[in-house]
């Protein structure tokens, strides 16, 4: 009734390649988070203005990023703009798609964070002669970061897992690489089982690093 024979040897032989692909996954997820945080902050600030072209652009971005499948967003940067003759490398496609998605989700987290800081903090900072820029960078944003730190960590985990969509646009990150080996050896179950463990380990490392960073950053 159950005559499948497990063969782990081929998986173990390609383990170094898989781990290397895992590093690529971590790399593209980290980069997309850095870009996503910067853009997400700008989107949140634009959205809080309530009027003007920046508000509308930011709103459209957030709506698209949050309400369409991440896969379609990746396809847009792959095949979508490819139709107009702009061809990005698989790495760039995944980086752009993930950054777009992360920025949209993070923007809403940041917006909630900004709204949770009493505006008297801004007044106090301005009353000391700080410019609006100084008051935001020194007083408001550091507090917002603490409030949204856990949502940011969640988004980072999500970025690691979402990067697996990269295999559908030809990017050989962890899932792409697994797919490549699996289809050559037909050891599909074994390969994806091992890869699942690697994903699990990556996420655990991300969560551990996030906890350590939080202990250093937030002393108060």
């Amino acid at each position: 009734m159950f005559d499948y024979n497990f063969h782990w040897r081929p998986v173990m032989k390609s383990l170094p390649d898989l781990l290397e692909a895992g590093l690529l996954t971590l790399q593209v997820a980290t980069l997309s988070m850095i870009i996503g945080i910067v853009i997400g902050l700008l989107l949140a600030l634009s959205r809080m203005k309530k009027t003007g072209p920046a508000y509308w652009l930011a709103t459209a971005w957030v709506e698209l990023a949050r309400n369409t499948p991440a896969l379609f967003q990746l396809f847009f940067f792959g095949f979508g703009i490819g139709a107009f003759g702009i061809h990005l490398s698989p790495f760039a496609i995944v980086l752009a798609g993930l950054s777009f998605n992360c920025a949209g989700y993070l923007a809403e987290n940041f917006r909630g964070g900004f709204q949770a800081i009493p505006d008297t903090q801004l007044r106090a900072a301005r009353s000391l002669g700080m410019t609006a820029w100084q008051a935001h960078t020194r007083i408001i944003i550091p507090q917002v970061f603490r409030l949204v730190y856990h949502p940011i960590t969640n988004q980072m985990v999500w970025a690691v897992l979402m990067s697996s969509l990269g295999m559908l646009v030809g990017f050989r990150e962890l899932s792409g690489e697994t797919q490549f080996f699996a289809s050559r050896t037909f050891r599909i179950f074994e390969y994806f089982a091992v890869t699942a463990v690697i994903y699990y380990a990556i996420v655990k490392i991300v969560l551990g690093a996030s906890r350590l960073l939080a202990m250093r950053l937030f002393r108060y």
Binding site: A124, S127, L128, G129, M130, Q134, R138, Q143, R219, Y220
Partner: protein, 240 residues
């Protein structure tokens, strides 16, 4: 010198200041009393430009606060402000709370800013709390921290917006003592307050605000002893 001329301020259709004329000389301590909603806190926000005005003018040492070309950030260095909700910066230690503005606004070096901060924290009696975060301080200590933070900019004037109203009763004394100390040192102060004892003992003049109008201004003996306005007498009878 702070010169306020025919100042009018609206929040939407609601007029909260209805033509205020007031001059505060250097070295003077002025207390502003009146019921909630009488416009006294708004007056302070108009003096340091945190609120825009609709009519009239506020001139601080010859500079028009609300004029277009005014460098408001520079002018605010002269006008220290202490808020009802003390507004300490929760992510910074007491020392960093005080040292930040001298460093980034006035361009002092780290060591200079640290020296200033230590001096001001000692001034308000918080020298044992230099590295404490605000969450570890009582309300009274946080308010004294806010005073030290304002003083670190070496302001010419100090504006107090109901500095003791949000404090537990047993913590009011330490903050009032700090304000008294400043008054004795000759600081020019405008104190919006509900502390009638403070207003009577420390002020050179007391102003009574009623529904956006400055009903009466004069030495404490006059306001508390023989107020001319019916409103003033009624208010004082109620708060006592």
């Amino acid at each position: 010198m702070i010169e306020i001329r025919s100042l009018e301020k609206y929040f939407g259709a609601l007029q909260v200041l209805k033509g205020i004329d007031l001059t505060v000389e250097k070295g003077e301590v002025l207390s502003v009393i009146g019921a909630s909603g009488s416009g006294k806190s708004t007056l302070l926000y108009c003096i340091n430009g945190l609120e825009a005005i609709q009519k009239g003018s506020v001139v601080v040492d010859g500079t028009n606060v609300h004029a277009k070309g005014t460098d408001i950030n520079k002018l605010r260095q002269k006008l220290g402000m202490v808020f009802q909700q003390w507004n300490s910066f929760p992510h910074l230690t007491a020392l960093e709370n005080v040292a930040l503005a001298p460093r980034i606004v006035k361009g002092k070096s780290r060591t200079e800013a640290r020296d200033i901060a230590e001096r001001q924290l000692r001034h308000v009696g918080l020298d044992d709390k230099l590295n404490a975060y605000p969450s570890a301080l009582s309300g009274g200590q946080q308010q004294r921290l806010a005073i030290a933070r304002a003083l670190a900019m070496e302001p010419t004037y100090m504006l107090f917006d109901e500095a003791t109203s949000a404090l537990d009763p047993e913590l009011v004394g330490e903050v009032l003592d700090t304000m008294r100390l400043l008054a004795e040192e000759g600081m020019t102060m405008i104190c919006v307050t509900h502390e009638m004892g403070f207003a009577r003992d420390v002020s050179d003049r007391v102003a009574y605000f009623h529904q956006g109008v400055m009903e009466e201004i004069g030495p404490p003996e006059q306001i508390f002893g023989e107020a001319k306005s019916e409103h003033t007498r009624k208010f004082l009878a109620n708060v006592r």
